[in-house]
C-alpha cells in the first residue's frame, strides 16, 4: 500500500512538472506552422474552447489529433453516430452534417442545412474534447477517492492517521469538512457534506487537470460551472426551511416599509447567487488560461517582430512569467474550488435558518 502511494505521488509530481514544461514545446510547432506570425486570439480560443477532435500537437504540416465520437440527433434525419474523423477537420460534410465554418453563427459546431438553406443546429451530445476530458477526470477522481477510502477498511479511530497520498487527501477532506462545511451547516451536516465535498474535489481536480497542456479546459467552461451552480441552487432551495423563505419574503427584523423592497432584492438574490458562482469559477479559470497562453505566445510573436537577441530576451521573460503564472494557477485552482465550496455551504447554511426567538 505504501509503495503504491509513493508511485501515485510520483505520478502526480511528474504530471505537474510536465505541466510546467510542456507549453513551450507544444506551441513551438504551431509557430512553425503559421509562418506569417501567430494568430494569438485563434490559438487561445482553440485551447480554451471545445472541439470535436482531441488535438495533441502538430508536426510540421501534419496535425496529430484524436478523432472523437459524434453523437447527434437531428429532427429531420434522426440519430447520427460516427467518428469526427469523417469531417476531415471541417473540410468535408458527412450524412448531411458539417462543421460550421469561420464567420458562421455556429462557428466550429456541427450544423445541418434545412430545406430553406439555413444553418440549423441539431441536438448535439457528441463526445467532444471537453466531454471526453470530463469522463476521464470523473473516472480518475472516483478511482482516487475510492482508493483513499479503501485505506480506511479494517481501521478504527485508534489506528494511526494515514500518511502519504491518502494523508494528503484526508487533510483536504478534513479541512473542507471541519473548517468549511461544519461551521456553516451546523445541523444536517451529513446530508450536505457529500455534495460539498464532491463539488470541492471535482472543481479542484478539474482545475488541476485543466493545467495539464493538451487537456480539456473543463472548469473554464460555462456549461460545467453552470451545472455545479445549479446543484447548489437546487440543494439550497429544495431543502430550505420555512424560516429561510420567510426571511426572504417577509423579514420581520426589518421595518415594515422596507420589507417589500427587501423581498424583491432577496428574490433576485436567489438567482444572482448561482449566477455569481457560475461566472466566478468560469471567468477565473478561463482568464488564467488566457493569461498563461498569452504570455507564452510572446515567444512566437517576438520571433517574427524582433528576431535575434530581442526574441531570446523576451523568450526568457516569457518562460519565467509562464512558470510564475502556472504556479499562480495552481494556487487559483485551490482557491476557486475552496471559494465555490465555501459560498455553497454558506448559501445552504442560510437556507437551514431556524426561527429566531422573539426577544
Amino acid at each position: 500500500m505504501n509503495k503504491k502511494n509513493k508511485v501515485l505521488t510520483r505520478i502526480m509530481g511528474l504530471l505537474i512538472a510536465v505541466g510546467l514544461l510542456l507549453p513551450q514545446s507544444a506551441f513551438a510547432e504551431e509557430a512553425v506552422q503559421e509562418e506569417g506570425g501567430l494568430d494569438v486570439t485563434a490559438m487561445i480560443f482553440e485551447h480554451v474552447g471545445d472541439s470535436y477532435y482531441w488535438h495533441i500537437t502538430d508536426f510540421g504540416e501534419t496535425s496529430v489529433s484524436m478523432p472523437l465520437p459524434v453523437l447527434v440527433y437531428s429532427q429531420t434525419s434522426g440519430f447520427h453516430c460516427f467518428m469526427s474523423s469523417r469531417f476531415h477537420h471541417g473540410h468535408a460534410s458527412y450524412e448531411g452534417l458539417q462543421i460550421a465554418p469561420e464567420g458562421s453563427e455556429y462557428a466550429g459546431k456541427i450544423v445541418e442545412t434545412d430545406s430553406n438553406g439555413n444553418e440549423i443546429r441539431p441536438f448535439d451530445f457528441s463526445i467532444t474534447k471537453n466531454v471526453a476530458g470530463l469522463i476521464i477526470t470523473s473516472i480518475l477522481l472516483i478511482w482516487i477517492i475510492l482508493h483513499c477510502a479503501k485505506w480506511y477498511k479494517n481501521k478504527d479511530q485508534v489506528s494511526a492517521a494515514p500518511t502519504g497520498f491518502v494523508g494528503t487527501v484526508e487533510m483536504l477532506v478534513s479541512y473542507v469538512y471541519n473548517d468549511v462545511i461544519k461551521p456553516n451547516i451546523p445541523h444536517h451536516t451529513e446530508r450536505y457534506a457529500p455534495y460539498l465535498l464532491t463539488a470541492f474535489f471535482f472543481i479542484f481536480f478539474n482545475n488541476l487537470c485543466g493545467l495539464i497542456p493538451g487537456s480539456a479546459n473543463l472548469t473554464g467552461n460555462i456549461a460545467v460551472t453552470v451545472t455545479l451552480a445549479l446543484f447548489t441552487f437546487f440543494t439550497t432551495n429544495i431543502f430550505g426551511t420555512g424560516a429561510y423563505w420567510s426571511e426572504i419574503f417577509w423579514n420581520k427584523e426589518l421595518p415594515a416599509w422596507l420589507r417589500p423592497i427587501m423581498a424583491v432584492i432577496e428574490f433576485i438574490g436567489l438567482f444572482t447567487k448561482p449566477f455569481s458562482l457560475t461566472i466566478r469559477l468560469f471567468a477565473n479559470i478561463l482568464a488564467g488560461h488566457c493569461a498563461l497562453l498569452g504570455v507564452l505566445s510572446v515567444i512566437f510573436l517576438t520571433a517574427v517582430s524582433m528576431p535575434g537577441v530581442g526574441n531570446g530576451v523576451m523568450s526568457a521573460v516569457s518562460v519565467v512569467l509562464g512558470i510564475f503564472l502556472d504556479c499562480l494557477e495552481l494556487l487559483v485552482a485551490f482557491i476557486q474550488a475552496f471559494v465555490f465550496t465555501m459560498l455553497s455551504s454558506i448559501y445552504i447554511g442560510l437556507s437551514q435558518a431556524e426561527h429566531h426567538h422573539e426577544d
Partner: protein, 165 residues
C-alpha cells in the same frame, strides 16, 4: 461569445458525470472518510479528557497519600507520647503499689509485734502473778507461824474490809 453560452450537450454530459461522481463518492467515498475523521476527533477529545481526568485523579491520590502520611506521622507521635505516658503511669503505679505494699507489710509486722508484745506482757503478768502469789504464800507462811500473828492478820484484814465498806 460562444464561450458565454452553455453548450447543451456538454451540460447534459456534465450533469450525468457529476451525478455519477456524486452518487458513487457520496455512497462509498466521503462517508467513510468523514466518519473516520469524526471518530478520530472524538477519540482524541475523549483521550484528552481522560488524560485530564487521570491527571486530576493522580493529583488527588498524591494529596491523599500526603494526607495519609501526615496522619500516620501524627498517629505515630501520639502513640509514642501515649506510650511514654503509660510507661510513666505504670512506673508511678508500681512505685505507689510498692510503697503501699511495704506499708502494709510494715503495719502487719507492727501489729504482729504488738500482738506478740501483748502476749509476752500477758505471759509476764501471769508469771508475775504466779510468782507474787508464790512469794505471798511464802511471806504468809513465814509471818503466820504463830497463832497470834494469824489472829492479828485476820483482824487487820477484817479492818481493811470494814474501812472499805
Amino acid at each position: 461569445m460562444s464561450l458565454l453560452i452553455p453548450e447543451s450537450g456538454l451540460f447534459l454530459w456534465m450533469l450525468l458525470a457529476f451525478v455519477v461522481v456524486l452518487v458513487v463518492l457520496g455512497k462509498f467515498g466521503w462517508p467513510i472518510m468523514t466518519k473516520m475523521i469524526d471518530e478520530r476527533a472524538r477519540y482524541i477529545d475523549e483521550s484528552i479528557a481522560k488524560a485530564k481526568e487521570a491527571n486530576e485523579k493522580l493529583e488527588k491520590i498524591q494529596e491523599e497519600t500526603a494526607a495519609m502520611l501526615k496522619e500516620a506521622q501524627e498517629k505515630q507521635s501520639s502513640i509514642l507520647a501515649e506510650a511514654v505516658n503509660m510507661r510513666n503511669q505504670i512506673v508511678e503505679k508500681a512505685k505507689t503499689d510498692a510503697t503501699l505494699a511495704g506499708q502494709k507489710i510494715l503495719e502487719e509486722a507492727k501489729q504482729q509485734i504488738e500482738a506478740e508484745k501483748e502476749d509476752a506482757i500477758r505471759d509476764i503478768r501471769r508469771q508475775v502473778g504466779l510468782l507474787s502469789v508464790e512469794i505471798a504464800e511464802k511471806v504468809l507462811r513465814q509471818n503466820l507461824k504463830s497463832d497470834t500473828d494469824q489472829m492479828a492478820m485476820i483482824d487487820r484484814m477484817l479492818d481493811e474490809i470494814k474501812t472499805e465498806k
